[in-house]
Amino acid sequence: MSSSESSGNLDRREVVAQLLAGRGDALLITGLGSTTWDAAAVGDREENFYVWGGMGGAAMIGLGLALAQPERRVLVITGDGEMLMGLGAFATIAVQHPANLSVVVIDNEVYGETGMQPTHTHFGVDLAGMAAAAGFESACTVYTQSDLDTLCASLYSTRGPLFASVKVSGDRHETVLPPRDGTYLKHRFRRALLGDAEKGSLAGRTS
């Protein structure tokens, strides 16, 4: 598939850079593959947790985090293929209705990492429509720079759960690798977020 076959023409690296520009102290979860490289290209941070596996789980990790940290904004940035594998999360998130959760799909309409095979969104499956039907507080599809500007203005401030599918071109970029050891990513994220409490209390000891 050539890049012109995606219904989007935004550049994914520029999109992710713009999405993250206003993040402040927001916590970030990325899905496996390209969205992880995109976030790493913007700059590695301790408050980034990159999910290198567990396809379909990124939005649910975001939900668990958002429920645990209701005062912090949580942003999930993942791929269309990754989101399609966990569509039930739309229903589960909508029912929990966390006000502090935003989920953004970088929708290139292909499984980029595995050879650019078209995903269901290429054939018209409407992720934002599904999120809206599930009961997200807001859901939109972003096609243009001006749509993206509007999204970025509300991404961290509007009442969640928010969903956006950003249509990007199929262009591939250099792979920028962030750290990939899972225990390291977990510990540094918890240390940045929880400080000393990261060590864990011994609460719950049976006696």
Partner: protein, 178 residues
């Protein structure tokens, strides 16, 4: 059932598990309903300091609880034995990151099962979880359930391990099924 742990119409072990979860400071309870978990789910839903999260599939719970731990919270996944099969790839996140995980599995396809379709997954629970890096504590006596869950919670949250307690169909008994 003629077990000591059962008084009157309802068995006492769901209340006992609930007490253990409170002591362990569990605040996120993820589940796909199973008849064997019905009473425990009710207790958790009625508790103001626990967030009950109904899932569409059990693997969502594995990811949810990883996120909970990232945010400093403890959770539990309640699942029927068949739901274990839905979790396998998501458990790779738990193993790779060494996330604590507490799972309580109510067994089907095992003691006195009448539904043949439950048997394949029920009989695979222990091996499947073991292969996915989850320590399994089987329990088949009602009066050992609470202690087993408490030990599993200790191993999960204080020794940072993935642990499942599988409660035999033998204990769950016929009363809960109808």
């Amino acid at each position: 059932m003629t077990d000591d742990a059962q008084i009157g119409e309802y068995p006492r072990w769901p209340e006992e598990i609930f007490g253990v979860l409170c002591d362990a400071e569990v605040t996120q309870v993820a589940y796909v309903p199973d008849a064997g978990h019905a009473r425990l789910i009710e207790l958790c839903q009625a508790n103001g300091s626990m967030r009950s999260v109904a899932l569409t599939t059990e693997e969502e719970g594995v990811a949810l609880l990883a996120g909970a731990w990232l945010g400093g919270a403890r959770g539990v996944l309640l699942t029927q034995s068949s739901g274990v099969g839905n979790c396998i790839n998501m458990l790779s996140i738990v193993q790779e990151c060494r996330f604590p995980l507490l799972v309580i599995v109510t067994m089907r396809g095992e003691w006195g099962e009448f539904n043949p379709w439950q048997v394949p997954m029920g009989q695979s629970v222990s091996d499947a979880l073991g292969n996915a890096g989850v320590i399994v504590h089987p329990v088949d006596a009602a009066d050992e359930i609470a202690d087993t869950v408490a030990a599993a919670a200790e191993l999960a949250f204080n020794a940072f391990r993935a642990v499942a307690v599988s409660i035999s169909q033998r204990v769950i008994g016929s009363k809960v099924w109808k």
